[in-house]
Subunit: 254 residues, 2 copies
């Protein structure tokens, strides 16, 4: 199995190394990841600047290719420039921090997997639900097994797996749930500061409240309740249920 | 009607001015847009840098607020800092260039409308399908009317309208179609160059081939065949059809 591995925390992050070690046990791994952190870049791509790459060593050995772009760039660049043929699986992560609910729009890690899926490759995004004291070991094992499942199971072209793992010991994890993406919005709030030249500036902060139906079938709740949450994410965003509603509304106006 | 207007081509772009003029006829318009071009930033947001804003004048009058961030930042910033209350509608555009098919993932303009939709506000992204010799006049009229429709029609919270307008005279436009998002991937290819220090770098280019079913119900074809394409885009990305498939696959492995 040829595996393409990327992330958004950058090629020197701890999380990508952890899952690299596990993926090496089941296949050939090519690491093509941003040369520094690209968190919250969403599915952005680099069209207005050129892209550079350099070979990166970790722990004294060749590790992979560091790219001056986003995770989505990395997947395109890997397939367009570095790899001789399409990989069998794309894995993105392990992200430091959860990517449940509406984070699927903001996350570069999720976009890395989505880019793989758009190109018809089975793909998995893996995130660890903590920003402090991460223990990537179970997430790495779990992510590697799910990469195998993504390749074998019959989900449609364009659909990929978004995996969120609680930062707990294996014995504390209750199991795995196939989940729905939560839809509670992350409300941005802004902290005002003043710079040395007396100009105001703002820091965005955001928080995703756990509200609505407290239902383990939703990613955020499953995660909160110590389950690994695995959400199949689609790439056809058409809201089919609204097509007729809109047809009727338009007929009245145009 | 209170309208929040953003885009990804930046607050000084021609397209945003064109639709501003039309939207002023039907409501109060607040312009909160990137201070320079932010094309292809997807749904990225700015968490690692602070955000600044400045008041911008165009044609001798106050026009709006220029933000040092992405279109999604602009919508969050407008609601969190600038506006006293949530707008009735968010409009994003008019983008120079089409945003049909898989462009919905890469486009900052589409993300501006999606951010509005995530926050529960009826939202519309408007794009003009050309990069050269744009005539924004019909797209501006059409976008303004669809902003009204988005507010009145009964589409679910989280769903927004992605509008693509051909760059043609009104007399050449055949009408409006409610469409599905095309799913043919944009394949990136990379042009290699060498810098003065003899280092290689790469420019990404991409092309979305018109292939698959030639069906006017798909945005790219409707646009190609001289229709305005209006696609309802959802924010719950769960692939519900894959939930059971995955449950079965997991049972075998975990």
């Amino acid at each position: 199995m040829n595996i393409l591995l990327t992330n958004d925390d950058g090629i020197f992050a701890e999380g990508i190394y952890a899952i690299y070690t596990e993926l090496k046990k089941i296949g050939q791994v090519t690491v093509v990841a941003p040369d520094s952190e690209r968190s919250s870049v969403g599915h952005g791509i680099t069209l207005s600047h050129p892209i550079w790459y350099k070979k990166v060593r970790r722990k004294g050995k060749f590790f992979g290719y560091g790219i001056s772009g986003t995770p989505a760039d990395c997947v395109k660049f890997a397939i367009g420039v570095i790899l001789k043929r399409k990989p069998d699986v794309v894995v993105s992560g392990i992200n430091l921090g959860p990517n449940d609910g509406c984070s699927v729009f903001y996350s570069g890690t999720v976009a890395g997997a989505r880019e793989g899926a758009l190109l018809g490759i089975p793909s998995v995004a893996v995130s660890l639900a903590t920003f402090i004291n991460p223990d990537f070991s179970y997430a790495a094992q779990c992510g590697a097994r799910l990469a195998g499942i993504a390749r074998q199971c019959h989900i449609p072209r364009g659909t990929f797996l978004n995996v969120n793992v609680p930062n707990l010991k294996v014995s504390q994890i209750k199991g795995i749930k196939i989940t729905r993406q939560g839809t509670v919005p992350i409300h941005g709030s802004f902290r005002k500061r003043r710079d040395p030249n007396l100009r105001d500036y703002y820091w965005m902060t955001g928080r995703m409240p756990l509200k609505g139906k407290r239902d383990d079938r939703i990613d955020s709740y499953a995660l909160h309740n110590h389950y690994v949450a695995v959400t199949p994410i689609r790439s056809d965003l058409t809201d089919y249920a609204s097509l007729d509603v809109l047809d009727d509304s338009l007929l009245k106006v145009f």
